[in-house]
Each structure stands twice: as structure tokens, then as C-alpha cells.
Symmetry: C2
Subunit: 293 residues, 2 copies
Amino acid sequence: MLIAVDWGTSSLRVARLDDAGRAIEEREFARGILTVPAGGFAQVFEQACGDWMRQPGALALICGMAGSRQGWMEAPYAACPAGLEALASGLTWIAPGRIAIVPGLALERDGIPDVIRGEETKAIGVLQASGASSATIVMPGTHCKWVRARHGRIESFATFMTGEFYALLRQHSILGRTMAEGPFDRDAFLRGLDHAGRSGNLLHAAFSARTLSLFERLPPQAGPSYLSGLLVGEELRSQRPGGHDSVILVGAEKLTLPYGAALDHLGLPCRTLGQEATWLGLHAIASHMGNPS
Amino acid sequence: MLIAVDWGTSSLRVARLDDAGRAIEEREFARGILTVPAGGFAQVFEQACGDWMRQPGALALICGMAGSRQGWMEAPYAACPAGLEALASGLTWIAPGRIAIVPGLALERDGIPDVIRGEETKAIGVLQASGASSATIVMPGTHCKWVRARHGRIESFATFMTGEFYALLRQHSILGRTMAEGPFDRDAFLRGLDHAGRSGNLLHAAFSARTLSLFERLPPQAGPSYLSGLLVGEELRSQRPGGHDSVILVGAEKLTLPYGAALDHLGLPCRTLGQEATWLGLHAIASHMGNPS
């Protein structure tokens, strides 16, 4: 039986999968790696899915930040481009034959490294779910990852700190002072998106949230959506999907909804998948080891 | 006698000027407008320079955020382009004939407003000090302002939130976690500058501070200079001075030094002026009212 584990910075999700990679049972815990003291990972793992692990033939595959230096055990990055075989052969075993961590991927562009951990697994799952062998896969979040897949392999990727910049500006900057919480405001979002695209410079474009508010041309409740539009617009400005690619958004609806609105506004149709992509990816990696059961 | 007052967000500076606009005596107080309760401005002003104001013919001209909605009295923005005459005729009088606030400037570009308060006065002073009638004037700070002067007038300007983004990322982001305080590291600064220029997208380029540190290719003490280079590089990427302009940097040395290094690295020679530009600007405005001494 395959036990799929998605262990990120802020949450821990586990699932028992059937032979097709679908979850039979799922559990979620607020036990991201930041909440786990050094040496405490085995215990949290036991609490999360120790009962499942006592089934005969149980195999746990873990992806995400649990493989980082601050995680359970550091799993070296595999080099990108990489396919299923590189991920399956690059596992770091915590308990031989029973618990392993999927490697993250690293690449270098103009002398600067970039890394993903967990998104490589999700991208493999997206290819499985969509039946596509090539795609531009966008995974919004604190650090949004753009993954390009070609011929069933992960060809390249890039990280954008969009979610973290949003939180910083919303919570700690002068821009947040004239904002109030409100529902997602599509018009304000697209207004920010368009301005970021025209401006071409986030350090300048961001100040528009201040001046529009100063001249009472941006209501406080529309401020957060406008700011979100500025940031997503800045990201999309330099990261347009290629003409032949299918664009696939992956993530929770709260995150994929604004990206979907942005891509639609820019004439770039996309599909959306949920977090089940991670389970499909872990299942595909396990199948490639020839050891799923 | 002209009493020049530069009343900003975080500090209050006052000076008695001679007939040439040079400071005879200067005082500085940690009484920026954010520290002054509503209705408390007259009292702080009295403490700062009440003795000077009791001299016969004393005139105080104030520039900066004291003219904002959160300041002593809101001074409406004058429209940009604007020259000395627009500033001198746009004064908001707090005490007729004795205390006035210089208007900030506002402009609109692609339907988005931009504003300055205080930098218009400094720019006028720069023209006085340099003898130039045209220049690109760069004023680093929390919000860095680029002011273009032509034929003695302020033709346009643009705001970049460079200093504020630096502080947010240094203090509150994941990038700051692997940084330690250190002296200005010119090599690390220029490395960040070049990367930002090549990358063309701050949301992506910023992540390099994380990955370089992760792969132990950026020492913790070099982190702040590298981050500063990323941000100044992002600013300069879209804001190259015109070929015929003299570029003049204005501000405290701590702020102008990295910008000077950046402009030098990009082959754009510049001159540097200190905060005395504000006194010269206020003196020029007072002279234009025909009411200095």
C-alpha cells in the first residue's frame, strides 16, 4: 500500500492511495516543518499515519520541504531537466524499503540557482492527470513555481516570490495602511494587473496603490485585490506561456482563482487542478520504482 | 530672515539662512510628522525655532510631509510640470506673511497619479547649486524619487519604493533569515545589481538571495548588500538617465554611496549633493516671492 505524504512548510497532508493513485483516505495536520523541532519528525509522522504504516507492504513516499535542511532528512536535489526515472532513482531512504523522500530539483540559469521541493512531484502528477506530455504548469503560493514539462519530463522551472511579497506589502508596508479586507474584487484586480504590465517595474507600479488611495480613486476594500493584481501582473509580465502549451493551474481555489482571472484577461486559456496532483505524482514515482502495491 | 524647515515623515530639520541661502545655524529633531499628534504641530514648531521666529521680519518656509493630510495643514499639490513661480505662488499660509508650506507636486501617467512632497524643493535647490538648468536628479530613500528638470523647471518625476521594499525583505521575509549585518560589500552589491538587470523581474530575481545562500555562495554578511543591489538594479533597469543629462544624486552619504557605485558600474557618471539642496530650494522659492531676508 502506498502512503503519500505532502510535508510542506506550513502543513502536513497524508493519504492512503488505491492502485490508480486516488486517495482512499486523507488526513491534514497543521504540522508543517516549521512546527516540528529537530529530531521530532518521526514522532509527528507516527501520529499522522503510524496506523497505516503497520499494514503489510506499506511504503511511504514523502515530498516537499521535509526533504530540506530544516526538515526530517536532507534529500539532495536532482538536476533539472529530470523525468520520473531521475526522481524514482534519487530517493533518500529514511527507513530502507519503507519510508523515502523524493528529491527536489535544482537548475542554474545565468549563474544563479533555482530550486523546487514538492512541485516536481505535483508536476509529474499533473501530466498523469491531464494526459499531456508537455505543459506550462503554474503553482501559485508563497513562492509561485512555473514548471515547464516537455515530452513527459520537467524541462525547467522558475520561482516567483509573489505570495510572500503580497503578504509583506499587505501587512507591513505603507500600502496596507489604506486597505481594508474585502471580497475578491475582479475589476480592481485586473486594474492592478494591467498597470503592472504597462509599468514594467514593480518598485514604481506598487506606489500606485498609495496614490490611487490618496486621491480616493481606490476604495479601501478594493485595495487588497488591486495589490494582488499588481503582483500577479508583474509575474505574468515576464512569464508568458508559449503559444503551443496547455497552461495548467494547480492549487487551492483561493489561489488559483485570481491567476485564472488574470490568464483569461490576457487571452491565455488554462485548466485548473487541485492538490490531488501530488497524490498522482507520488503514485507515478512509486510505480516507476516497481514497488507500489 | 528666512527660516527654512524640512519636515518629513521621520525627522524635522530647521535652519536660519543667510542672503545666499546658506545655513547660519541648523537644528535637527526626531520629530517627524508621525511623532506629532493632530493639533500639536504649532507647539513642536515653536520648540524647534520659536526663538528665531521672534526676530523682526522672520519668514518660515516649510517643505515636506508637514503639508500632507497627516501633517500640520494640507497643502494642495501643484500640477507638474512646474517651476519656481508655481511653487512660490502655490504656498499654503499657516500664519499669513510669517509661516507657509510649499506645495508638493502631482502628475498623472497612464491614468495613475504620482506625487512628491519636499523633493520639488530639493530639486529646485539642486539646480541652484549646480548651475544646471536640466538634470536627472535622483533622491534615494524609503521612496526614491527621480526628478527630471528641463530649462529650470521640474518636468516630470517618478517614485520607486526601493528603500521600503529593502526594509520589508530584510526584516520580514525569508531572505532576511540567512543574512547578517555587515559593512557595505561592493562586489555583492554589484552582483545583485547585475542579476536584477538581467532578470528583468524582481519577484524572480529576489529568490536568488535565497538560493545563493542555500548553496553557500553568498556569505551571510554579504546578503544585505546583495539584496540592496537587487533592488537598486531593479530601479535602474527601467530608469536610465537620458544621454545628455547630468545625473545628480542627493541625500545622506549612506544612501547615495550605493547608488553612486551602481551608476558608475553602469557607465553613468554622476555628482552628489547633500541635504543643503533643501535650504537652497527654500531660499530660491522665498526669493521668488520677493520676500526673503
